[in-house]
């Protein structure tokens, strides 16, 4: 396959970026999108040019490191998939593909397609953990959790924190990410105890990071590699309102 690429090149956060045209001739349809970029980079290195920088790690769709806007869609045309799990068979021979980084004020561009997603980490640091002292590991059966509880907690915990929800949102809201983290811990007895503190802290951190509001367009779920439900956002709203209205400080 022959693929024409228009890739966003930007030296650092302060400089101006622009699209640069590249052509990759020897693309195999079974290559992943990142392997196609590797092929391009190999060519660029041989030519003595600076390779295109992009985030990646496991390349198995579970780490949440990769993520770029491909033809204006987070993680590309396939729904509910990561960039590394997108293969070139999703494109046609001779296609022109636009590749841009995820864009949001809270995700400053580091270089080219690489962005700084530390804002999501800081939301986790503000409350996405269990702080009650649990001592030594107790007998496993002393905390009964039903199969359904475990499953739905895991549905929320499946979020890999790639930031596609923010990139897909017209308001650059991190509500799906934060909602999923809050719901995951709220559904389990160990996490439930601190829900009120957690939800307040995490929502306030989300605000401080400069993410936008959620207007329930539900685009985030469609593009989310893990298909995290938008109902996690509603749950966050519910828990937040409850903690503000009903919990004595």
């Amino acid at each position: 396959m022959k693929i024409y690429l228009k890739i966003w090149r930007q030296k650092d956060n302060h400089s101006k970026g622009c699209f640069k045209d590249y052509t990759v001739d020897d693309v195999n349809k079974d290559m992943s999108f990142l392997e196609m970029l590797d092929t391009l980079n190999l060519k660029l290195v041989k030519q003595g040019e600076r390779p295109v920088e992009f985030d990646h790690d496991c390349r198995e769709g579970i780490c949440g490191q990769c993520g770029v806007m491909i033809n204006g869609i987070a993680h590309g045309p396939l729904k509910n998939t990561t960039t590394c799990q997108l293969h070139m068979r999703s494109f046609k021979d001779g296609d022109t593909i636009y590749v841009e980084p995820f864009k949001a004020a809270a995700f400053p561009i580091v270089r080219d397609l690489k962005i700084n997603r530390s804002a999501l980490d800081r939301i986790i640091t503000s409350g996405g953990f269990v702080a009650v002292d649990t001592g030594q590991a107790p007998e496993a059966n002393s905390i009964p959790i039903t199969y359904q509880e475990a499953e739905s907690a895991f549905d929320s915990a499946a979020c890999i924190g790639c930031g596609a929800c923010v990139a897909s949102c017209k308001n650059s809201s991190a509500a799906l990410f934060t909602g999923a983290k809050i719901t995951h811990l709220e559904l389990l007895p160990q996490g439930q105890k601190e829900t009120h503190v957690r939800v307040t802290e995490m929502v306030e951190q989300m605000e401080k990071e400069g993410f936008g509001h959620c207007s329930n367009t539900e685009a985030c779920q469609v593009e989310c590699p893990e298909n995290i439900s938008v109902l996690n956002i509603a749950r966050m709203n519910y828990e937040y309102n409850k903690s503000k209205l009903l919990v004595k400080k």
Binding site: W8, F19, M69, N71, G72, I73, A74, K79, Y98, E100, K103, A104, A105, A106, F107, A167, S168, K170, N171, S172, S173, V203, E204, E207, K208, G210, F211, G212, H213, C214, S215, N216, T217, E218, A219, C220, V222, E223, V230, L231, N232, I233, A234, R235, M236, N237, Y238, E239, Y240, N241, K242, K244
Partner: protein, 222 residues
């Protein structure tokens, strides 16, 4: 404390509560206005009596203040969140096809809201202001003749088109707004969430059709 007022979740709660109150008002307003479709003579007396009752009632007066407050708060909140969203978005995407993942109305609530707001300005000026502060002839029963004012206004096809476009904008606004408001307030149960969406669609369609037929029927009748 300040962060609580600036907080997007709180603003969305306010947006949802005012929106739901306005949606409730739409039902009452529509039911009242359906009197316009009665046979002409009966409609005139009945509608003028109804308007007179509304304008003289202290409870209605208090509710109307809540209504004005809701319209203002809903609008101010939209402006606040609109600015916040613009700030959060940062640099624009050069190629943007994100719209494939959501409905048109959910992405254009601000645009639809602006049409509705402009409509309200015209609507208030032509009827509400005229009735309250203008000079109107009286009907047989001595009530101000709002009916004739309304019917004459809808003589013009342009006026009917203006109203129809505004009602369609309202309909699309509700199509997303009603269900979204419940989400913002925290309805996370999958079953009720789905139920509210279906009922919200039904509500939007009925309200839109209800409002749409009034100017059209009046235009055809006269």
């Amino acid at each position: 404390m300040m962060i609580y007022f600036k907080n997007a979740l709180t603003r969305k709660n306010l947006m949802a509560l005012t929106g739901l109150f306005l949606s409730f008002f739409l039902i009452i307003h529509l039911l009242g206005n359906l009197q316009l479709l009665l046979p002409e003579k009966e409609a005139q007396l009945q509608y003028n009596l109804y308007s007179h009752f509304l304008s003289g009632n202290i409870v209605i007066k208090l509710v109307s203040y809540v209504l004005y407050a809701c319209i203002l708060l809903h609008t101010l909140d939209a402006i606040y969140l609109g600015i916040k969203s613009k700030k959060a978005n940062g640099p624009k995407l050069s190629r943007d096809r994100r719209s494939r993942a959501s409905t048109w109305q959910s992405r254009n609530m601000m645009f639809l809201g602006i049409i509705i707001f402009l409509f309200l300005v015209i609507h208030f000026k032509d009827f509400w202001y005229h009735y309250k502060f203008g000079e109107l002839p009286h009907d047989e029963n001595g009530n101000k003749d709002l009916y004739t004012l309304v019917v004459n206004a809808f003589d013009s096809i342009w006026y009917v088109i203006l109203y129809s476009v505004s009602f369609l904008a309202l309909g699309f606004h509700l199509l997303h707004g009603v269900a979204s408001a419940h989400r913002s307030l925290g309805v996370y149960h999958p079953f009720y969430s789905k139920l509210i969406r279906i009922l919200g669609y039904l509500f939007s369609i009925l309200i839109t059709l209800g409002y749409l037929i009034i100017p059209i029927i009046i235009y055809i009748k006269h």
